[in-house]
Structure formats: structure tokens, C-alpha cells
Amino acid sequence: MGGSRVAITGLGCVCALGPDVPTCAEALFLGRKDRVAPVRFEDSYSPTSPVFQVASPLPAPSRWLKHGVSRTNSLALAAVREALADGGLTSSPGSLRVGVCMGTTVGSALNSTRFYRGYLDRKEPDMSPVSRFLSNNPALFIAREYAFSGPCQTVVNACSSGTDALGIGASWIAAGICDVVVAGGADELSRVTYEGFASLMVTDDEMCKPFDRNRKGLNLGEGAAALLLESEYSWRMRRKPPRGFVVGYGAACDAYHLTAPSPDGQGLRQAIAYALETSKKASAEISFVNAHGTATLDNDRVEAITLHEMLPGVPFLSTKGHTGHALGAAGAIEAVMTMICLEKGRIPASAGFSVADPQLPANPNASTKEIVGSCALSESLAFGGHNSVIVIEHSND
């Protein structure tokens, strides 16, 4: 990264907290409401573990799509639309090359249980779920909606996809491949991921409690977020002052196990170190950390231990108590949350935390607190042992 700063000129977000950034920003500080919402799983399956669903209506694309739009892409569109409006970029602007980098998990697989059951029963099922899947690649969907002709990439790095998409988008700009990147992530609730996490015995049948002594696991969520990333040349030419900057991105593998994080937090350590070094920020300059904080026993333990070692005394919190774990969208949603907190100059309590875990060397932030400084970290730890960390700085202007 070489210390180059990539501007953030627009934000968009839709998740359980709200349909847009201002609503999410307000709700983030209001404490958590218990959620018992109906779910939209395809075959009216009722999960036992709470899920954080998006209740708001979602926009339709401007062009007609023969096989329809996936829910993942509708979520993506809502977030991207808001980010572009916020950034004052409503269509492909002349000479600027605009790329799209979106993280997802559900959006990249054919998950239709209805189609699959019809296939198994030899009932000649309707092919539209397959056709819809083939025509709904998230990054391509956004690129075609807005006629963006720059590079197009759907990142499928499991739970770190959102953070990775931001880091990669920033790398593209720093390398001069394009001027602007719509970067973020989107994922809808799905029975398939629900069954998967439940089978791994990492879900909680009650509301999740990140970093809490009595935590039992995660709750799934859905949503999308997008950040408009720009080169200095581009935002100066457009006279659009940045809201903030991506100043560093670190990513490293544990190379340990397919599902369990490395107990010594080796990969996370490396990612944090690289992110800080390349952003030229010392740990003392970091105001807070938006942790991955899924509320699983393993994840929270590894994170708390590693953060305590790498960034002692720096407050950390998980926002998944407000949003659930939105998989490919999580890192992007959390980057938006991080920007919101930097702009407000304060961080909320880590939702779901109430009892300290004596096995953890540090506890998350327990009440709304003013923060000092203009820089924060947001991190994501993925299945397969990938650890991603992004350093975000608030604009002083």
C-alpha cells in the first residue's frame, strides 16, 4: 500500500439497524432491541436461532432483468444507490473509470432448495432459479446497472469478503487501474448458510453476546454496504471532499484449519501489523477497533487476546449484536459503522455484552464513550483462516 490514502466519498448501508446510513447511525447508539422477526427462507423453514433480517422494502434495478433479481443484489443495489448519491456520482462520469468490487457468500452459489428438491424428485423443476443465479453475479450486476466499465470483481472470501473488497478496491486505485471503485458487500439470509452454521454448533438460540462470558455463538444477519472509493485526482476533479480515507489494509492466513481460527491469533497479528505499518499509524493513534466479534467461543477468545497484545488499552466493540453476522456483507457494514463512529466522535456499547469473561484479557466497550483521534481499525476473520484488517481515517475537513 505504501502509505497511499484512498478517499471515501460516499457511504451506503442497509441492514437490520435500518435502510440507510443515517437511520443506522442513530439506531447504533440506542441499544439493542430484541428481534423476533419472521424470516424469508424459501421454504417457510423456521429457524430456532434468531436472525437479523432486513425489513425495509428494497429498490428495483433500472433495467428489466429477464430472470429477476436476487435478494442479495436488491440489498446491494440499495446500498450502492445510497453511496453513489452520497458521493454525488449518479452515472458513469465521462472519462473516469469506475470499478466494482463486492464481497458475498450467498450471492455466489446456487442455493435454491426448491429447485434442488424438484431436481431430486425428478419433477422437471422450473429453471428460473438457475437462470437467476447465472445472471445475478453481484459485482457484474452493479457494473451493468450503472454502465461502469472498470474492473469488476466478486470476492468470495467467506466472512472477510466485505473487508477484503474494500482493501482490494483501494489497491486498484493506488495502482492506477481505475479512478473510482464502488466497494462493499452484500448477503441475504439463506436456509443453506443457516443450516451450515447450525451444524457447526456455532449459533446461539438466543440473541448473540459478543465477548460475553455466557456467549454461545452467532446469529446470522443480512444486509449490504458500499463505500465509494476514489483517487485524489478524481475527487478533486469532481470537487467532492472525502468523508474519510482508507489508509491501510492487511490480510494474512492462519494456515491452520478449515473452520477453527489459529489459537495464537497468528494470522490476525500479521494482518494488524501490516495494516498499521503500511498506513504509517502507530497503535497509539488508533481510537478504537470494530472487531469481528461473532460471539463464538473461539473467535472472540482469539480476537480479545490478540487485540490486547497488539493494541493494549484501545477500546474495541462488536456491532454484530445489532446486525447479526451478515457474512460477505459484514466487513463492509462494519466499515460504514466505523466511519459513523469516527464522524460522531464516539463509540456505542458493544451490543450483547454484559458479563465479563474472566478468560479474556480485555472486555469490549460497555457504554457510549467519546473517542480521541481520527483513525480506527475494522477487522474480519473468515472461515479458512483468513484475517483482514482495514484502517480508516476520518477526514479532518
Binding site: 505504501g2 457468500t105 438457475v130 466499465s149 466478486t154 486498484w172 495502482a175 494474512a252 494470522g267
Partner: protein, 355 residues
């Protein structure tokens, strides 16, 4: 076109033609179409047969003990075999110098395992979702296994961009090398066949008489695609003298319906046409006036990561100093372009050259 210089230090390939870059080169030089497997596809009409280019992974036993591979599915095995062959080809073993990033491009991901996972709770009477199958059904499983088995702790990326997966991922590989994030990229692509894919093939394209199955991708208006599976891996570096295979010198991406694709002058142009009528017909408007194009899909089949095979063939040709197809003496400044057009009109062009 994004200019770059990524030196190709090693190549590993797995497909119906066998495994290893020499096996692929031999198939091209000798004009051999690999043997086709026959898959059964059950539709309402009954049991039909579909020709498929299938890949085998027994070669993996040279690199890993069976116990290490016990949970690893066919998709990840193809990737691991191609990656191992690439590292062997690059004469890299044991401690590697510097940091290595792992990048995997896939069109459809490990769908056979995805459906295997669905089997465990969707089938009548089944309510026993398998966590092992779920963990392996996540698209980045191959990259994760590569990191674990090769002991690589650098950054990892898996890209799913349909026919543009390879080219899109190459852009990020370049960025990582250019910014010094990594010293090498173990870059690969993998796609597999499954019964569900075969079923969808039948539903979309109808019956295909296996005895007459033959890919004719240069008959652009004809549906002659045969599904394939396989994997290709490269070891890429930046600041290095020319390796055996030359370099990737540029990647261009865009939309073919925004005007004619700007095809630079190259000695050869490899077309990613693979017998799919929907995309085949998109090539001719961009080819008028050109007669130096070839199509290699009949050697490896129709699959979204096809461009990776074309890049491997191009790299081998540049390295070998001979046109594989004609055995003619190559010009020293030989350049090869690999063009792929996707279903929604998106295109990619990857340029290779000796230096």
C-alpha cells in the same frame, strides 16, 4: 489495458488431457482431443447421456499423504494438484522466499459439494446437515486448503466472476505484486463438473448424442459445447528476469457491447469461444480483418475458467519458442492475446509476451 509485468515462473494444469503442462502441450501439438467421459443425466424423458471432459487427481498422491486429503473434495483436489505441479515446475520446494499470496478464480465454485451439503438436509427424511460438507462448500475452501497444506500465511483471495473470474483475479494479483504486498502469487483457477450441472446443461441445450459429441467453437453460431472441469495454476513474480514462460504484460476488461474491442496487434490471438452459441456469436464482429486466431477449448472443454488454460498454452508457446499448432519458428518478439467474451457481453483480454 492495464500494463503490467508478471513473470510466469511455473505452470501446473489438470484436465481431461491429463496433468502437467507437458501433457497439455502434447495434446495441442498432436491435435489430440482428450477422451470424453459419459455422464448420466436423468430428466423427465428418462436417462440421457452427456459427454464431459473429466479430470483425475491421482497425481496428488505424489505430494500429500492420503490422510491429509481425507476431507478434501474433488474441486479442491484439482486445485491442489495443479498448484503442486506449478510449484514443482517452478522448482520451488520447502522454504519459499518472501511472502506468497494465494489467489483462486472460479466460475461456479465447489457446486458438487454444495449440492452434497443440500442432500444432507433437503432430501426426504434427512435432517442431518453435515458441517464438513458445509465448510467445504464455501468458495474459498480450495484457497484455504492450499494455505494450510503449503504453509502459506500471506493474503488469500477467491474470486467468482463467471467467465471473467481469471482476468479479474489477475488484476488483483498484479496489484499485490506491484505494491509489494507479496513477493509471489500462487495464482490459480478451478471449476468442476457435477450431476446438477449436467442436468442444467440438458435442460438448457437439449440432448447431445454422445457418439457425435465434438466441440466446434469456431462454428460460432452453433451450440457444440461440452462441459469440462479442471484447474490451472501459475507461480507469478514481479521483479525477476524472464522465466521459462515469459510474462503476462497486460489485462484489459470491459463490455463488448460498448463498441468494438480494441485488439492490439499480436502474433496470435486465442479465442475463448467454447462452443456456447450464446457467447460464440459475440466474437465475429470483433475479428474482421484478423486471421491469426485459434481456439483451444476442444482440448479442455467448456468451463468459465477456460481463459486460464489459454494463458497456460500461450505461456508455454512463448517459452518454447515455437507455435505449438504449426511448429513454425516463433518470432522473438512474439506476443499472444487471450480473448474471452462472457454471457452479458463482458470481455477480457490477457496479453502475454516473452519479456
Amino acid at each position: 489495458m492495464t500494463d503490467m509485468r508478471m513473470v510466469i515462473k511455473g505452470i501446473g494444469v489438470v484436465g481431461a488431457f491429463g496433468s502437467g503442462i507437458d501433457a497439455l502441450a502434447t495434446a495441442i501439438v498432436d491435435g489430440i482431443r482428450p477422451p470424453l467421459s459419459t455422464a448420466e443425466v436423468i430428466t423427465k424423458e428418462g436417462t440421457g447421456r452427456l459427454s464431459v471432459y473429466r479430470a483425475r487427481t491421482e497425481g496428488l498422491e505424489e505430494f500429500f499423504a492420503k490422510r491429509e486429503l481425507r476431507r478434501i473434495d474433488h474441486y479442491a483436489k484439482m486445485a491442489l494438484l495443479a498448484a503442486s505441479l506449478a510449484l514443482k515446475d517452478a522448482k520451488v520446494s520447502g522454504q519459499r522466499q518472501g511472502t506468497t499470496g494465494i489467489i483462486v478464480a472460479t466460475g461456479y465454485g465447489p457446486h458438487r459439494t454444495t449440492f452434497g451439503f443440500l442432500d444432507t438436509f433437503v432430501k426426504e427424511g434427512n435432517n442431518f446437515a453435515s458441517p464438513t460438507l458445509f465448510a467445504s462448500s464455501v468458495h474459498n475452501a480450495a484457497a484455504a486448503y492450499a494455505a494450510i497444506l503449503f504453509g502459506e500465511r500471506g493474503p488469500s483471495l477467491t474470486v467468482s466472476q463467471l467467465e471473467m473470474s481469471v482476468s479479474s483475479a489477475l488484476l488483483t494479483a498484479w496489484c499485490w505484486l506491484a505494491e509489494g504486498r507479496v513477493d509471489s502469487v500462487l495464482f490459480g483457477a478451478v471449476d468442476e463438473y457435477s450431476d446438477v450441472l449436467g442436468y442444467c446443461w440438458k435442460r438448457y441445450f437439449g440432448v447431445q448424442e454422445t457418439s457425435q459429441a465434438e466441440m466446434r467453437p469456431l462454428d460460432f453460431e452453433r451450440q457444440s459445447a461440452i462441459p469440462g472441469e479442471g484447474s490451472v495454476f501459475f507461480l507469478l513474480r514481479r521483479n525477476e528476469n524472464q522465466g521459462r514462460y515469459g510474462c503476462i504484460r497486460g489485462v484489459d476488461m470491459g463490455f463488448a457491447d460498448c463498441g468494438r474491442i480494441d485488439l492490439p496487434e499480436t502474433d496470435l490471438l486465442f479465442l475463448g469461444a467454447d462452443g456456447m452459441r450464446e457467447t460464440g456469436r459475440l466474437y465475429p464482429p470483433h475479428l474482421s480483418g484478423k486471421n491469426n486466431f485459434l481456439c483451444h477449448a476442444p482440448t479442455y472443454g467448456s468451463l468459465p475458467i477456460g481463459p486460464a488454460f489459454d494463458i497456460a498454452i500461450a505461456a508455454h508457446e512463448i517459452g518454447d519458442g515455437a507455435y505449438l499448432e504449426t511448429n513454425a519458428e516463433a518470432l522473438p518478439e512474439k506476443t499472444i492475446g487471450c480473448l474471452k467474451i462472457g454471457r452479458q457481453g463482458e470481455f477480457s483480454l490477457v496479453m502475454l509476451a516473452r519479456e
